[in-house]
Symmetry: C2
Subunit: 182 residues, 2 copies
């Protein structure tokens, strides 16, 4: 028995990555997946829900960010950059990244989804470290550094950053991110 749900998710991820949120129709995803559009509604309920499934991170978020909340600063910063790169560097995730960024810059609805994701997941985990009154702003600047790395490494493919190994990026970025965790 084929994994119809999985086939739909892969087709959706590719469509969202190429065309962005607004320009992608359920009909075009169904056509790519070779299924009836009604099946998409059956499995996912809505285009927004399918988008969230399609661009969802491959690693469960709690695993990714659990360490950040309890490690000492330097090690928390290193763990954050390294885990983030493991996700962002995977072949699977290039499409996810492109889908998220392309959709978020072209659709207010998709931007809202990414905003909610960043606020609840990443900012939430960093806020658990407690601390200063400006903690939310510090967490946002960490998110900005990570989102910027993904933009330049995977979307723009700026040579020094696109070609650097994860160890090199971690070695330089962790001390900078550590400053935000103080």
């Amino acid at each position: 028995m084929p994994d119809t749900r999985g086939v739909i998710v892969v087709a959706a991820r590719r469509r969202f990555a190429t065309h962005g949120y607004d320009a992608t129709s359920l009909r075009s995803i169904a056509s790519d997946a070779g299924v009836d559009a009604a099946l998409l509604i059956h499995y996912f309920g809505s285009k927004e829900a399918l988008f969230i499934s399609a661009v969802g991170l491959p690693t469960p978020l709690p695993d990714l960010f659990a360490d950040v909340a309890r490690l000492p600063r330097r090690r928390a910063a290193e763990a954050l950059v390294r885990r983030y790169l493991e996700i962002a560097d995977s072949e699977h995730s290039r499409n996810t990244m492109l889908a998220l960024v392309r959709s978020a810059v072209s659709s207010e609805q998709a931007a809202g989804l990414l905003r909610r994701f960043l606020t609840e997941a990443l900012l939430g985990a960093i806020a658990q470290r407690g601390g200063e009154e400006d903690q939310a702003l510090r967490a946002s600047l960490i998110a900005a550094q990570l989102v910027g790395i993904a933009m330049l490494r995977h979307v723009l493919r700026l040579p020094p950053l696109a070609e650097a190994g994860p160890d090199e990026v971690v070695a330089l970025a962790a001390p900078a991110i550590e400053r935000y965790l103080s």
Copy 2:
């Protein structure tokens, strides 16, 4: 005598910001500007040249980055963040940012333009400080932090970063960026 060139640039910036590079035609810009499409070629030569004019930074780049090459580290980092925010925060530049990011994520040609711009302007200026072998990667990570700030502040409008005053952002981001300038 009306500033026809200026009218065209404003129309082009709005179009590129809304639709991205690939989906914007010279004809649609000409129509918005109320001029003949031939006039666009007369003034700018090509769509790529018009794009560069339309998304060009309002402040001359040498002014923006001159200090970075010669100031001591902390002050160079502060100047970089502050000048960048002055540009990114202006009403004019929101459209510029959106045009650049929207076009770069949807068009390989526009991504190439932004890559060239980042490499020559920002990375070039930081490289003038001389220093370590990994200087280009350090400069790229600074660019990633700044691009990420613009993304979250102006495109996604993530609350803590979208609402923070420039002074708050400079106070937190400069020490982190300083780490890359060592």
